[in-house]
Symmetry: D2
């Protein structure tokens, strides 16, 4: 195995949940070494955290621009090779852009940007840079999601006719029903959180899962949001009718007020010869349905699975894989790409997914605001 | 217990599935005696079947009109009291109307009529007649569906914010993908099957379940159908956005091409304080979700259930109840109504449900044909 | 179809749960007509109930002996053909014996007798009589239990190596923990309830399911009971080690103090090539496991099922079948046997099952009382 | 947070599954730094692996004895503090003993030793050393297992009456049915694998889970093994009757020939007031049963959980935790102990668990070989 890849981290310090997830994921397959970072806008906090997790203190920088500047001064074989962008949403775009423009590889948290225009601009930088860009739609890393993709690609369902995806959560209830809170929290302030809450935060994961697993593109959509209160300015719930070409239709459902739902991402894909059903909270069980045969339950780690799926399983069948494994599989794919090794294009979501995601989010907002009309995506 | 109710049967002879279901349901609680019938348009077949199941042969009539005529000649205490209408769809309306106009009680299979106009006309007959009219939306008879209704009514969820109902089946696949079959089968011929296949046959059950359990009325809807093939004239799949008043929204999904799905009717109802989830194929498990408490699984036959729910359970908890129990519970409620006993209005669907169902079906067709616009229901 | 079979009922009057179950089961497939009965030791109660459910009053007898006497006076083509014995346990044996000795067919509730000696004596009567005798181990009537049996018979699992069956309930908790109740209730009084509570009441169902599905005989067993309290004289819980021949072993677990369990009968059967798992409370889902292939879920009503399984399904796949269907399937098989039609020997449990069941119960008691030693069954 | 703990690794190099599991677990909560190792008996392989995963090469030793010798020469604040023993089973005892005797903390894979005598001897070394000793019964690290323990401790079930634990796998099928393989594989050779296969490898996990969750001690047991073939010398299946004091009984079931089972560890605990059910393959769902209330589903990360449970959850509810999280939680507890911080004694299994486990294994073998008699455990 080649030497470890030098990884820089932007954000994700202290108790940051996303920070833990990315660090563990980078560690799991022994591909990365955290070499430098700006964990926190506060330099002291950044240094303290670096000490805690044993990152070399001389590579902790006071801010992002300094990191770029100083790292560029280092010889190439010491320099950070890839940066994980875990900062607040509005910083994803400028940071990712500058990283690409300076020749770094980028692993970027979702949402990639705050607008489609930014996304397209970032895409241009990426094309110029020629480096690796990965967007962490984490759920595509699950072995059983990958199995769906590969089996659909190899024709297991025949022509697809219908897709039904959902991402329901209930957590915003505690904010939305409190008049004070809902008018003050950054999440529900369009100036701070961007144009969409529910679709931007979670609906876009369901959208990505649809295109990732089916290999189809959504052509147009019609969306209806629910704001729940007159004085609330952001969608906290919405349903999106989708059309994916010749008589292929479906629906994407999202909600942050689906009381009692935790992280309810699920997808059903119906084709001429069979169907798949998968749920994020039971990620190791993939159901293959048929009109004429018994339903089959696929599980990770079995020889009957595809290479792409098996690549993401580290222990024998029956040892539950969780969210860490999922993100780790994405990091594993990125490592292959950075090293110029061969890899399956299902190993990590890319710039294209990012651009399409922003297109989806903006289209849902446009459709809702125009009175629930059909809006085309740019394909 | 009073004497058994004299029940007439129209249709449902021989191997008819719906015939078995209604006969067993009528028997289960010892309330009915099949007293007369036109099981079949062919009189000999009707007589043969009557012999088989021991219905008095002198009350088997050559056709529906004769049944009415002859039964009216009998003294009231011998005359059929209620007729179950199990004939092909287009006959429901004329038969039900004539029965009501002649003072009979009616148990009518779904769809109640083929148009909303017929439904309204039937409603007038019913108002005039003052007899009992029940529409067999069978699934409302399950003890756990009734439990949802009663708990929602008593405020267990607080204000409802979102409803998500689905009815997916895959059985039409075998027809729709065969050019020859799809152009010849009555099911997909609008002249024979009415204006809608998927929404008319199954979507309307999901619609009914939404209004039955929540106690809310759908005000307007927007629908997109999928016909799957250019030469197919009937919806075999569709998604319906719904609005139920002040910021209460939801979605009803229906499909007959959801490969591998058998009888996939399910509902999720999200309110301020909690949520319910229920699936028809696991009817004895009702999930109550909360943002702060462990999910609860309600099951039939326990003392913690409501009176309405317990009324429909005949054996101790843990003895699975199925579709026969569900229909039997509806027949039990109708018996109470016919006998003038007190009953809960959740015990059987009525004329109002029938009219609303037709309104729903027509509105989905209107919405789809008008380019997926919002169509108001008559509330 | 031939004329309906004339059915007599012993016991099961009023609100009797077992009465409802048998009546509905006898009705479902249009094979039986209730022709006579002793519903209750109190003649007036018996008559009142007969009126309620429309059984001819002149065939309601004051007691069992009168029923036999009077029915024998009737011409054979009017006489009751088969009697369902639903009386308290200690009456099963004398009634069944007299019925057989007088040429009647018998459907007998479980336990067949109170001792193995009685069982063997009854077996002799049955051999002499040559009539049909069915024991209502109801759970063998489920379509998916039948499917297991047929697939195992046709070699789907290869050689069987291990069997694990369980029947857990929690309902006796309310009695057993109350010193007053546990010393007074008939259920826990060996003089009234026989030698075993847990094994006699439910363990024997699990035993029967093991032999029914695998086609193997249990050769010997070792059992440990739990009485829970010093002053309790009956087993309320027990585990039974079983040996079924050449290196085929297993375990049968029973409990009436498994708090929160309702009717938790389940079985797992492991063979050289595969395994089955089935649970009574989700009766329509049969899991077939493999070391190398995805788990398969079999469901009722599909063409892939065996004839024996499909014979027990009345409605299309996806319409839940419950306990009524299960008992109805047993009655259907008995009807075929009474009419001399061909039938699969898996359609109903017989005298042999009854004798073996009593042998099992006595052997568990012997094993426990002898200090948990191996006790052979009579094969 | 204090500086990272210096961790040594014995075994677990290359593609070792157990190696990955421990490394990731040690990393997840930022408590450990791998400082030295003997990954492999082959020194070159050890060095190559150290390079791959970036462990300082000067701390890679040619063998275990050298590691001890050299590390002891280092100043205490540079020296390895704790060693993870991941070597083949027969090496656990001598290595752990020498480590303890030289003042190191130890994290030891299971089985702790190969005999009870060794276990007791190791216990003496541990008592003398006074360092931390942890045995990786991994499954006790799951948040929902911890939740069971804490709720039982605080009386949620009342007095416990019955315990039912199982660990079924099917993986040995591929070996056992092949005469050649079963006579040559080390797993089934008592000289190499110790006295028990099924109980020693997996049954002991179920045993540990029983005592971990209930807080009760098993007093005596009776066991029956299945060897499956005459020429096989090791148990590949077995059932253990257990007694845990005053009328508290239960059963532990183990199998390596349970075809199609992957890692089927599960436990049910029945008490006077309620019951728990948990399955390792769905580790994030804990069922609490009651005779009178709806079943409750507990899930990780909710405020309703105990401190011990919440301590093991890193992401919000609904992000599936898997086997890595479970082992990581054990490492987290060990870190607290090493640092002298306060911790719950449920955070990791100890020497006592190891001694009891060996006692259990030997007792099952004794019981089986003595003709299935009761054997007392040393309490």
């Amino acid at each position: 195995m080649p030497k470890k890849i030098r990884l820089g981290i932007l954000g994700g310090g202290g108790d940051s949940l996303i920070g833990v997830l990315h660090r563990v994921a980078s560690f799991i397959n022994d591909n990365y070494q955290i070499t430098g970072a700006v964990f926190n806008p506060d330099f002291d906090a950044s240094m303290a955290f670096a000490k805690e997790i044993d990152v070399p203190l001389n590579r902790i920088y006071k801010d992002f621009d300094t990191l770029i500047e100083e790292e560029l001064k280092l010889p190439e074989d010491e320099r950070i090779q890839v940066c994980s962008v875990l900062t607040p949403n509005f910083l994803h775009y400028p940071m990712a852009k500058k990283l690409l423009d300076n020749g770094f590889h980028v692993i970027c948290e979702k949402p990639m940007t705050t607008t489609l225009d930014e996304a397209k601009d970032l895409q241009k930088s990426h094309e110029k840079a020629g480096t690796v860009f990965a967007l962490t739609h984490t759920y595509t890393g699950y072995p059983m999601v990958r199995q769906m993709r590969e089996m659909i690609k190899s024709g297991a369902l025949g022509k697809i006719h219908k897709v039904d995806a959902v991402y329901y959560q209930g957590w915003i209830n505690t904010i939305i029903h409190d008049k004070e809170k809902r008018s003050s929290v950054w999440r529900l302030d369009p100036k701070k959180a961007g144009i969409s809450s529910c679709m931007g935060d979670i609906g876009v994961h369901a959208f990505n899962l649809v295109e990732y697993t089916t290999g189809l593109k959504i052509n147009e959509l019609l969306c209806d949001f629910n704001y729940l209160y007159e004085d609330n300015q952001m969608d906290v719930d919405g349903t999106v009718l989708i059309r994916m070409g010749d008589h292929v239709k479906g629906v994407i459902r999202g909600s942050q007020v689906a009381t009692g739902e935790e992280n309810g991402l699920a997808i059903s894909i119906y084709g001429e010869k069979g169907a798949f059903r998968w749920e994020q909270e039971r990620p190791n069980f993939l159901y293959k349905l048929s009109d004429t045969e018994p339903t089959q339950i696929y599980k990770p780690g079995h020889a009957y699975n595809s290479e792409l799926s098996l690549d993401g399983t580290k222990l024998p069948a029956g040892h539950p894989e969780g969210i860490f494994d999922s993100m780790a599989n994405i990091y594993k794919g990125v490592a292959k790409a950075i090293r110029g090794q061969e890899y399956n294009d299902g190993e990590f979501p890319t710039m294209t997914d990012g651009v399409r995601g922003m297109n989806f989010i903006e289209a849902t907002v446009d459709s809702h605001k125009s009175g629930n009309t059909w809006v085309a995506l740019e394909n």
